[in-house]
């Protein structure tokens, strides 16, 4: 946790001054009962109006100073908390940007998003609360005890006992309710699950006429949740009455014991009133403290979650070397006995894979789900490092390339056609920040996207909504293909990225890629035999093993896995027709 403390840097002064001013404010608040006691004991008893006016002026002065201190504290605390949050956010964002695919897979991007947003907000609030309030309440409690002690050391024992009992009550109730609230959260999760299930699965539920059963199941879950909530409510409903009871019993004791002391002259009437006032201050602040402890605990939990990410180090640092020469005459991609296992996986996803792709070739990659297709191309782009064997691009080990050069060299079109908010032009410039409109149009032409972009009113300035929602699946796919083509990478990878295209567009795309991108080495990953069959050679993967590396016709003859795939998709005559 202390690691997070360094983000207060630049705001140390505010972070120190905020609680300090809060304590000052508390001090002034603690004087109030004493002043009132003196009004009663001196002012009223002696009918001294001047004294009373003076003391009242003192009360107003204490209030003004209290307000000033408090405002100063709030200001410093807001500055410190926001400064802390901003620095932490910046650093976490930068840190996330250094993580490699292995770490990202392990953590998962949705978690990263929550930690970047709500968790950091929680921590920021926690810092603000801590600076402002967490020190104030204990300070007032202790201060009130000390003040009580200065008035009457003997009666302070009563205070100590009451404070201890109230703290114990608060602690016991909190301890008893936390697990029940936890159960309630689980119940609520279940309610959410059933709701989602019935919404998403509405067609199936209705197709099988199960609406009544689903409703009955929901009612049962909901009733269960209700009974948990009522149970938790019953216990936490004890908090106020019990503490109220303890405080007022103490007040009665104060009156009885105090009366005896007043009778003997060791205590005055005004001091008894002051003691009663201190007692109620203690109660208010203990209850406030209980609330705060809950909020701060939550913030601490969030802090741990943020810290967890910050402690995750990347397993792949940027070698940041000089730009390596990439001779088009050399082999574009060369795998030598590559074996790769995902972190935490039971077995390798690629085993002893070797192949060579010459510059300008089109390479098909085919195989079933989980056969290692995506893993293979992820290694080409060095999203992961192979544990055994080497991957070379243009005669250099991939590990020798700086990330910037590597990203320029390899263009990738991922399976999920994801676009970003902005304009079409913004999206096209993702891989090439300085691309001209001509370059963008050229890429759109090849990707078969120029026609529909041209038909949009804004053309390249046409806005793209979140995730590209305002484009159809097929349009999105073509735009993501164009995006990868803009910087004219030497190696282009299409990872099953034509699945939403109809056969005609798919064919036109493949033709354009072949005609207009001479010298570009293209990897086409697909489950459709038709998409890869005209590649220069096809890599056939089966359970992580490379079981075929040859052109279509040859594979049909020699590779049983390939033949099986083709026959599962086409009839025998059709397969023959492709030859």
């Amino acid at each position: 946790m202390h690691k997070l403390l360094r983000y207060i840097k630049g705001y140390e002064k505010q972070a120190l001054l905020a609680p300090l001013f809060k304590m000052l404010e508390a001090c002034f608040e603690l004087f109030v009962p004493l002043v009132v006691a003196s009004i009663i004991d001196t002012g009223i008893k002696n009918a001294d109006t001047v004294f009373i006016w003076q003391r009242c002026a003192l009360l107003v002065l204490l209030a003004v100073i209290g307000l000033t201190c408090s405002l100063t504290a709030q200001y410093f605390s807001a500055q410190a908390a926001l400064g802390f949050g901003t620095a932490l956010r910046k650093d976490l964002f930068r840190h996330i940007n250094t993580l490699s695919y292995s770490e990202l897979d392990g953590i998962g991007t949705p978690t990263l998003v929550t930690r970047m947003t709500s968790d950091i907000n929680q921590v920021q609030n926690g810092v603000n609360l801590t600076l402002r309030l967490l020190l104030r309440s204990p300070f007032i409690v202790i201060g009130a005890l000390i003040m009580a002690f200065t008035i009457s050391a003997r009666l302070t024992l009563l205070f100590l006992a009451a404070t201890a009992i109230i703290s114990l009550i608060i602690w016991l109730i909190m301890r008893a309710t936390v697990p029940i609230y936890h159960q309630a959260q689980n119940g609520l999760d279940r309610v959410t699950l059933l709701t989602r299930e019935n919404y998403v699965g509405a067609r199936v539920v209705r197709a099988f006429a199960r609406q009544a059963d689903e409703t009955a199941a929901f009612i049962e879950t909901n009733d269960h949740l209700k009974s948990i909530q009522v149970r938790a409510g019953r216990i936490s409903a004890l908090m106020n009455p019990l503490t109220y009871l303890v405080v007022n019993l103490t007040v009665i004791a104060l009156l009885l014991l105090g009366g005896r002391e007043v009778d003997t002259g060791t205590l005055t009437q005004g001091e008894v009133i002051a003691l009663i006032n201190y007692m109620s201050q203690i109660l208010v602040n203990l209850l406030r403290l209980a609330d705060l402890v809950i909020s701060v605990t939550r913030a601490l939990a969030s802090g741990m979650r943020v810290n967890e990410i910050l402690n995750t180090q990347t397993s792949m640092a940027d070698p940041a070397t000089r730009t390596l020469p990439t001779d088009s005459g050399s082999d574009a991609v060369c795998f030598q006995n590559v074996t790769f296992t995902y972190r935490g996986a039971g077995g390798p996803s690629l085993t002893d894979v070797s192949f060579t792709a010459h510059s300008g070739e089109t390479i098909g990659v085919i195989g079933g789900t989980g056969s290692g297709k995506t893993t293979l191309i992820d290694l080409v782009a060095r999203f992961y490092d192979a544990q055994e064997g080497t991957v070379q691009l243009f005669g250099h080990n991939v590990k020798e390339y700086g990330f910037a050069q590597l990203r320029e060299l390899v263009g990738i079109v991922p399976q999920q056609a994801m676009l970003f908010t902005g304009t079409i032009r913004d999206n096209m410039r993702w891989a090439a920040p300085y691309a001209t409109d001509e370059q963008i149009w050229e890429a759109l032409e090849i990707a078969q996207a120029a026609d529909f972009v041209r038909s949009k009113p804004g053309m390249l300035d046409e806005p793209v909504e979140t995730a590209g929602r305002n484009f159809s699946g097929g349009q999105r796919q073509r735009l993501t293909i164009a995006r990868a083509l803009v910087p004219k990478p030497k190696i282009l990878i299409l990872d099953d990225s034509a699945s939403a295209l109809d056969f005609a567009t798919d064919a036109a795309l493949r033709k354009a890629l072949k005609d207009k991108t001479t010298g570009m080495t293209v990897f086409i990953v697909s489950q459709r035999a038709a998409s890869v069959q005209r590649a220069d050679h096809i890599l056939v993967l089966d359970d992580g093993l490379l079981v075929g590396d040859a052109p279509h016709a040859e594979l049909l003859k020699n590779c049983s896995v390939y033949k099986e795939i083709c026959l599962s998709q086409l009839s025998k005559e059709e397969v023959e027709k492709t030859l």
């Binding site: 709701t195 019935n198 006429a209 209700k226 009871l245 007043v262 009778d263 009133i273 097929g474 109809d502």
Partner: protein, 587 residues
């Protein structure tokens, strides 16, 4: 959605509906109000008693011990009474609130089951889910707070006022005159911070969507070397957020110190006036302590009430969102004279069917089709051509706008929906499984099926062998995200689910990709087994399936543009032939 109404009017009608929800618990409400009155009364009484006690402790030798003892007993009784009634009140409030919340949830859920699919397809599931969960939760928080604090707050203010007036009306008037100051201060701060909060929440929303987009797609950021540009974009929003955040946090935190300050002024004023009154002899010291005590507490209910008001506003807004969902027009109920469609032979007729999703966008204008029992119809065409529309109409998920759609000679709107759907079996590409065991899922359409029947269906759906390999076999629980079962296996389970029901008509959706080759062979086998002797509509991607069909419907933009057998369509040289050639012609 709801028509624009004035906020006040909206609130009034919402309040009326919330009250209607509470009506069944009128008895409990009366009980809690009575308890609240007792609590407030005894709470106010306690300081009066202790004030009297203070007056018995004047100085050395001037202490009335007998009177003190009597008062101590009275006070003990009072506070005990307070504690008990307060606890009971809290318990009753809890009970009412959670009961109301439960009723509201059930109502909303029941609505979910009769919402038209038209609504569900047009809205994200997250929206309805957040209404049934988060909004209801927020509403319950607001309701509970309203119950516990609003009524007691008002009573406390009135009671305090009464007691103060009774003791010394002049000082009481000063307190009454000064207290609203704190409300004005609070109101002033609230209105002036509102705009800052708005800016802050807008900036925060901007940051959240940026983070969701960039961090959510961190793999792409990495793949395109976008890191430094991402950081620059993020840093801009981050600094904006810091700037407006400091302001919003600071100004909003002014409320407490400022009202506390006003409170202190009131306190000082009471001190001066009380002291003078005490010197003049019109007030005892004990009464002064009661006054000071009250002055301290008097502003609290005011602040509480203003908190409760904001919370209640919020709660009403949430309640309104839930009511909006409940008010959505449900599906047209089955006609009162609707008959039960018997399990028939499985013929289907489309007669001049007209259908549009949006009234102004033409889709199906005049569709005619006759399918004999046992025929196999393949639906072919590019994505978005309207294949799923036919599924929606056949299952009566959507209502046709004109013409007639008949199953076994019965127009589908003349029979009950349940009996119509019992005649139709559906296996879609989006394989939906319930959270539950494999066996429960297979028996989804026939909850009373025996284990033998389930196993038999699974065997015929080619699912038995993979199920047996699962850790708990048929009792394995399907995870919500389906992590433990592959996409292809999920489809096999969906087939088994239909297999158990043996409907005469089938609607099948062939998978495009995402299934591995081996499982795909199984799925095709299972489909074949399922289609034996049944009428089937199959959304086809595979040429082998298409070629085996009795009739191929080629669809484009919602219309059937060509129909016939594979050979007929090839001979015709139209769109189908073009599709076919694009896949098999050499480059």
């Amino acid at each position: 959605m709801s028509k624009p109404k004035s906020k006040a009017k909206l609130n009034r009608s919402t309040i009326r509906r919330v009250l209607a929800l509470i009506r069944p618990y009128t008895g409990s409400v009366i009980l809690t109000l009575t308890l609240a009155a007792i609590t407030v009364f005894t709470t106010l009484l306690a300081p009066v008693i202790s004030g009297k006690a203070v007056d018995l402790i004047i100085g050395p030798g001037q202490v009335d011990f007998a009177g003190l003892a009597k008062l101590a007993v009275a006070m003990a009784a009072t506070i005990l009474c307070t504690a008990v009634s307060q606890w009971l009140m809290n318990v009753v409030n809890n009970r009412i609130t959670f009961q109301v919340v439960r009723d509201m949830r059930v109502k909303a859920f029941e609505q979910l089951e009769i919402l038209p699919l038209k609504y569900m397809d047009a809205h994200r599931p997250g929206d309805a889910i957040s209404r049934i969960t988060t909004d209801v939760e927020q509403f319950s928080d607001g309701l509970l707070m309203g119950f516990t604090q609003l009524f007691t707050g008002v009573l406390t203010i009135l009671g305090t006022l009464g007691v103060m007036l009774h003791i010394d009306w002049r000082i009481a008037l000063v307190v009454v005159a000064l207290t609203p100051l704190s409300i004005f201060v609070a109101r002033f701060i609230a209105t002036h911070t509102y705009s800052m909060f708005k800016v802050q929440s807008e900036t925060r929303a901007e940051m959240t969507s940026l983070v969701e987009e960039l961090v959510g797609n961190e793999h792409l950021v990495r793949a395109f070397g976008y890191e430094s540009r991402a950081e620059a974009r993020f840093e801009r929003v981050n600094l904006d957020l810091q700037k407006c955040g400091v302001r919003a946090v600071f100004f909003s935190s002014l409320t407490n110190p400022c009202t506390r300050f006003v409170n202190s002024l009131v306190y000082a004023a009471v001190g001066v006036l009380g002291a003078f009154a005490a010197i003049a002899g019109s007030l005892t010291v004990g009464e002064l302590s009661v006054f000071l005590n009250y002055a301290n507490q008097y502003t609290k209910p005011f602040n509480d009430i203003s908190d409760v008001m904001t919370e209640l506003q919020n709660a009403l807004a949430c309640a309104q969102r839930v009511f909006d969902l409940i008010d959505e027009t449900p599906i047209v109920p089955d006609a009162p004279d609707a008959t039960v469609l018997p399990m028939g032979a499985g013929s289907v007729e489309f007669e001049h069917v007209k259908f549009r999703y949006a009234p102004d966008i033409p889709l199906i204008e005049d569709m005619n089709l006759r399918v004999w029992p046992g025929q196999r119809i393949a639906l072919v065409g590019p994505t978005g051509c309207g294949k799923t529309t036919l599924v929606n109409l056949l299952m009566r998920f959507y209502e046709i706008n004109g013409g007639c759609l008949k199953v076994d000679g019965h127009p589908i709107d003349h029979v009950t929906r349940d009996s119509l759907r019992a005649n139709l079996g559906m296996v879609l590409q989006e394989t939906w499984l319930k959270s539950g065991t494999i066996a429960e899922n297979i028996a989804y359409g026939k909850p009373d099926a025996t284990r033998e029947e389930i196993v038999e269906a699974a065997k015929r759906a080619r699912a038995h062998s993979f199920i047996c390999r699962l850790p708990n076999g048929y009792d394995t629980v399907v995870a919500e995200d389906g992590g433990n079962i592959s996409q292809g296996q999920r489809q096999l389970l969906c087939i088994a689910r239909v297999m158990l029901r043996r409907p005469p008509i089938l609607i099948l959706d062939e998978a495009t990709s995402s299934i591995d080759t081996r499982t795909e062979v199984l799925v095709q086998d299972a489909f074949e087994e399922l289609m034996k002797g049944r009428t089937s509509f199959i959304v086809a991607h595979r040429l082998s399936t298409i070629k085996n069909a009795d009739q191929i419907l080629v669809m484009k933009a919602g219309n059937i543009i060509e129909r016939g057998t594979h050979d007929e369509l090839l001979a015709k040289g139209g769109f189908y032939a073009q599709l076919y050639e694009s896949q098999f012609a050499k480059a």
